[in-house]
């Protein structure tokens, strides 16, 4: 057994806004910026489209972490204010996670623009390490 195989590899699901963060993730690709292979990506039109139940469902299905990424507030949002609504929901969702006994560090909201390929890679790396330190999602076993 190598050291690598022993290590806990978190499974992360990312909801990325089509206009900024998804394009930022594409830019990380065109720039050949290498990052942790722990994220799977779902493209949405706006971070405001991310229904809190999507996040809960991902956690229920065993995701160790969920990333929501959208356009920089206040005014970069392609749909004027979708990012602000995403932020509002995110903070309410954190309270709900507390009540459910799920660590709030498992859900992360980030602003990543189409020009921030490097930031996307950095966020994925940081978040992966954060979740690795936290350990597997307790819901996963059940």
């Amino acid at each position: 057994m190598t050291e690598m195989a022993d290590r806990f590899e978190p499974q992360i699901l990312g909801f990325l806004c089509n206009w900024c963060s998804y394009a930022g993730a594409d830019l990380a690709g065109t720039s050949r910026t290498q990052y942790s292979p722990n994220i799977r990506i779902i493209r949405v039109m706006c971070s405001g489209r991310v229904d809190p139940t999507f996040v809960l469902l991902a956690l229920k299905n065993g995701a160790d972490g969920v990333l929501i990424a959208g356009c920089h507030p206040p005014s970069d949002c392609h749909y004027l204010t979708g990012n602000l609504k995403a932020r509002r929901r995110y903070h309410l969702l954190l309270k709900l996670l507390d009540q459910l006994g799920i660590e709030r560090q498992r859900v992360r909201l980030e602003w990543i623009s189409a020009s921030e390929g490097e930031k996307f890679a950095r966020v994925v790396n940081e978040f992966t390490e954060q979740i690795r330190a936290l350990g597997p999602n307790p819901l996963k076993a059940s």
Binding site: Q11, L13, W19, C20, Y22, A23, A25, D26, L27, A28, G29, T30, R32, T33, Q34, Y35, P37, R40, I41, I42, R43, V44, M45, C46, G48, R49, V50, D51, P52, F54, L57, A58, N61, G62, A63, S75, D76, C77, H78, Y79, L80, T81, G82, K85, R89, S113, A114, S115, E116, A121
Partner: protein
Amino acid sequence: MPEQPKVGVYLCHCGTNIAGVIDIKKLLAYVETLPNVAVARDYTYMCSDPGQQLIRKDIHEYKLNRVVVAACSPALHEPTFRKILQEEGVSPYFFEMANVREQDSWVHMKNPEEALEIAKDTVRMSVARTAKLEQLEPKQVKVGKRALIIGGGISGISASLDLANAGFTVHLVEKSPTIGGRMAQLDKTFPTMDCSSCILTPKMVSVSRHPNIKLYTYAEVKDVQGFIGNFKVKVLQKPKYVDEKKCTVCAECVKVCPVEVPDEFNANLSWRKAIYIPFPQAVPPSYVLDEENCLGLTPLACGKCKEACEPDAMNYDDAPKEIELDVDTIIVATGYDPYDPSSDQEYNYGFFQNVVTSLEMERMLNASGPTSGKVLRPSDLKEPQRVVYVQCVGSRNERTNLYCSRVCCMYAVKQARQLKEKHPEMEVRIFYIDIRAFGKGFEEFYEKAARDYGVLFTRGRVAEILEDPKNRNLVVRAEDTLLGSPLELETDLVVLSVGITPTVEADEIHKILKIPTGPDGFFSEAHPKLRPVDTVIDGVLIAGTAAGPKDIPDAVAQAKAAASGAVSLMAPGVYTVEPYYALVDDTICGGCGTCVLLCPYQAISMENKRAKINEALCKGCGVCASACPAGAIKPNHFTDEQVISQIEQAIAK
């Protein structure tokens, strides 16, 4: 009854871009085991004609009703593959792209095993999603023949004339009192040595006389709402306090105006009055009263210009005008600002009088400039005998801007040649990193400067400039990187070859129009090679230096490309947009009205205690759907079922 999905999955090698990292054979074997997959194939280039033929043949042979292509980002080739489906009689919205290049093989190049796992997951998610896709009808919007062009520099002027000549209505908005932009400030242009204003000013006049062009100078775009074919634009025009129609440009007002301020047009090397014309060939040809520097208009403090004005063109009661425009397409040509070297400590620009920028030199070289074409040291107004150019100021430097500004090498060579033409005995030396003479006729132009004009070239970046306080002479310290030795050189004048930076106003336009910008602040094109003047916003195009540093021929070429892009959007009269609007199931809607409050476009109203979405206003963000407590709202192509199908497959093992 929904038909049983029959999915065709196509794995693209993209040459070695994908296949060089991901084991396609293993991926193919895995994909074949997925539910609903009727056929799976791989091919070197799926987007090529033979690749497309594979899909076309299979659609008929296997009666496919869903197609997944695992290749590049949907931003690149989703439209290509959707078209295949449409042409073969399958709804184009039954297509799904699995992004295994930008978001997989290119970011996990050293980790092929994990890259394969990601590819498996991504394709599995896509296949699952296709089962939930729905038939949609593309939405058609009417597009008229009116364009807004933001910025009246050479790019905006060129695009305006092309569109106007083709019969389209152009609204040209320029923030300063005249059109002409940066090009109007230049003396001669490389490599042909054309006089800049001789080739520019006739175009400016054509703009002002063209029946299809409506010109708004001293005006700024404040707000844009709507979409292609239906943009509603708010323009704020500042008061000029001079009636353009009455003003005869006699200059009597200038003679009596008591206020002097630095003249921006002359790079602050001379003075202008508070009432002024930016330059003699300005369009529109009229004076403008700069209210910030006027002694006072309310209450009137001076009033001398009105007394002096014979045609009675002064109007102190002029006020800002808000103009509303309806346009179909928009071209953004906001241009550039020269890099400000004040914060680069090593050059002491602003502290040492004899350190000037290339734009200041350009104005000095101009016969109608502040020195009537004489090159003078600011400290003593004597003609310098020795001039040093410092290249890449604000370019190719980690501390300032990483990018190359593309014009500085050639304008420095051009100015050096002009200096040598006027003063053959002058010692002119250019410190460079490399000379980038990449354009047509550029290399010849550069070689001639060295060979025939005797311009000296030293390879090395200038590290420091020092000043002798007695005579204000300068000492330049650098490393000659060809000789590998340090160098110290006394000179009379240093010219900083400053680069190109995005304008402050471009940031406002970025916020108003939501055009993405790159890390350097220039507007991003929809695709750097194939769609160089389009943006990701339908109906919004970019041209000139707003999209990145370029010289005049490139800016004009891009402006003409943007004009042609706008024509191809407007000429057909209709434009097809994605049917990504949201629908309300009024059998589920409880009429709570949450969505009405959330919609950023006021697209939702209450009718008979049920929410109703106006498809034309809805842009499909889906904010309403994720807030609806009853789950009654369905945003097309991003429905709950579709997203959930992906979530469920993302983690499954």
